[in-house]
Symmetry: C2
Subunit: 381 residues, 2 copies
């Protein structure tokens, strides 16, 4: 069967992470993605280590399955190529500073007048409106200013950055959603729309519990270590050989946990309800660890798992990449080189859809301008 | 103009965070969402603190703009209501343990045979395939097992949980994407599809740089504090009155930073390229802080901003919710109560789309079974 986005062409005039990641998720759904890069250096991610055979693994991780053409949008011949591409495309993704494409004559208003079916997906640090629209940003600025960093870290310690670039990635995932919604909308209206995604907005959209706590109590949450702010027990616990996590998200699970640990707490008013457990969370942790310290992580994960309780190991990325469940789900794929040999590893497509093949490899990330001839020939078709 | 999902009806038979958050994002795009809850207790999030006037702020944050009907799917009259809803719906979202809906006769195979246009969106801890398909999970288990926790925390310290529930939310955002792609696909095929999202898969999909590092170097990254693992300078720096962040993601920005700080490092071979800066990141940090320590965060953020450099404050959630840029983008909205008065705050919709109104309020989160009469009347229409 055909992939859902078969026949959809996306021009990705972007670099870094947010725009390329969004386009990659749409490529995994079947879209053709043509990457439009600056002549000379191309996407700045091409210079991000680590490298293998001179190529950036980080670039490959989010730019596989695309083709590349280098265009100088201040040169007339390249502008003509770009405009022929726009005429064939369904979607333009761009992540330049607001105002930059307008100066080239390729802002939303101009493009919508000339290519009314084209969907225009913009992702920027702060969005195209508001006092800081023109400020530059990166993931770290988003995580810091957006509040996520302030709730991440050890209890009593300084805020830390979340190890994955969720400032970029949340924006990327919302951009993909917006583009898909606009494609649906176009079935009814025949017209494209502009989607204006701000990394800062997208970061704020992930703070559901933190916003709820702040607005009701007046006090913003601080870093909580491994603990959830409003559910207990829901954190890491010490075992004989390390730490593992238990997440008992409701009263039924807490009762099961008490049985599995042989801890008579389920009828204790200090722990009988989730709000009571949250109020007494430090005492609860000490009582649980008095039991878990006597055996290994593996012992407790097996025992709690058999009792139907959510628990698990704290795995490093190497362990996660070898996890039997991850492998069974085809979530680590090979990115090929130009000769069809496995060159890099990348995450698979988490959108598993009935009747749609879930490939175990990905086409090579393109060399800069590596597909110019093929793209120009396609324009002649 | 009409919202992109106007006319689309979604049944959300889910609880907690992932399923409800996905349905909420689709409600923000214009879909009608009917929440189907267990009689008696309903969604377990209803008992998650903090509360206001007896209602959970966390529940309201992700369940506004929906209606609710309580159905016992083991009772024949309620099954009849559910089946009439299925006949009217475009999408079913469910997040039960794999096998649970099958036992009720409402698994994908049965539903697809009876309601061939229905799209079936499932989100679960580990997905519907693989050795751990039937294990229960929660956000914390996903963050721990999926590797994100292992790369988050202070340098040399123990892993911590990311303060937002990205284990749930990444899965939710992929589910929304999958549902939108399936709606597009249905325009061509006339048929619904099953989407099978695993929280663990979705978590792995966010580890682009970490997977690249692990697979090329053989060594998984450890917690990096505020620092990006492969870009420098890209971390928090000490000023006279606290810390702020600088993210100089390429050589041009690094040169601008050297000028702004009056630091003659841009031609130094230890710092001339991003890979060299990453190799010498600790020395680079000391050299930068020798300058930044002499003035305040606000001074440096203004000075670097004027020089076109990405930098910013580390804000707590209260500060983020009052940030002029956030407010200008309508990213903090009022969730109303049943009387139309502002009751809770929630994040706005980060998908800003041309021609689509961006409301500043949201309809109240429903009481359990609070819309039964209205839903039954709608079925008669």
């Amino acid at each position: 069967m055909a992939h859902p986005l078969k026949g959809i062409t996306i021009l990705e005039m972007s670099q870094g992470l947010a725009g390329p990641f969004s386009a990659m998720t749409l490529a995994d759904l079947g879209a053709r993605v043509i990457k439009i890069e600056r002549p000379g250096t191309g996407d700045e991610s091409r210079s991000v280590p680590p490298f293998k055979a001179g190529k950036s693994a980080c670039f490959a991780a989010v730019n596989h399955s695309k083709t590349s053409i280098a265009l100088d949008l201040k040169s007339e011949p390249d502008r003509a190529v770009f405009e022929r591409l726009l005429a064939r495309a369904d979607v333009l993704i761009e992540s330049s500073r607001p105002g930059a494409v307008e100066r080239l004559g390729y802002g939303w208003t101009d493009l919508h007048a000339r290519f009314p079916r084209l969907i225009y997906g913009a992702v920027s640090g702060f969005g195209h409106t508001g006092p800081d629209a023109k400020r530059p940003s990166y993931d770290l600025v988003t995580q810091a200013r957006g509040g996520l960093m302030s709730i991440t870290g050890h209890v009593g310690g300084a805020p830390v950055r979340t190890g994955a670039s969720v400032g970029d990635l949340a924006a990327a995932l919302y951009l993909s959603q917006g583009i898909l919604a606009a494609l649906l909308d176009r079935h009814h209206t025949g017209k494209g729309r502009k989607i204006d995604i701000s990394m800062l907005d997208a970061q704020l959209a992930l703070l559901e519990t933190a916003i709820a706590i702040t607005s009701v109590t007046g006090t913003p949450p601080a870093p909580g270590g491994t603990r959830h702010p409003t559910i207990a027990p829901f954190e890491a616990f010490q075992a004989a050989d390390g730490r593992f996590v238990i997440a008992a998200g409701n009263d039924v699970l807490f009762e099961k946990l008490c049985v599995a640990l042989n801890l008579p707490l389920a009828d204790d008013p200090r722990f009988a309800t989730n709000p009571a457990r949250v109020d007494n969370v430090r005492l609860l942790k000490r009582l649980i660890e008095a039991v878990t310290i006597d055996n290994t992580c593996a012992y407790w994960i097996a025992k709690l798992g058999a009792a139907g309780l959510p628990s698990g190991p704290i795995q490093n990325v190497d362990q996660a990449m070898r996890d039997p469940q991850i492998l069974a789900r085809n979530m680590v794929v090979d990115v090929l080189d130009r000769n069809g040999r496995a060159a890099f590893k990348a995450a698979g497509n988490p959108i598993k859809m009935s009747g749609i093949p879930d490939a175990t490899t990905r086409r090579a990330a393109p060399d800069l301008d590596g597909n110019r001839g093929e793209i120009l020939r396609w324009l002649e078709e």
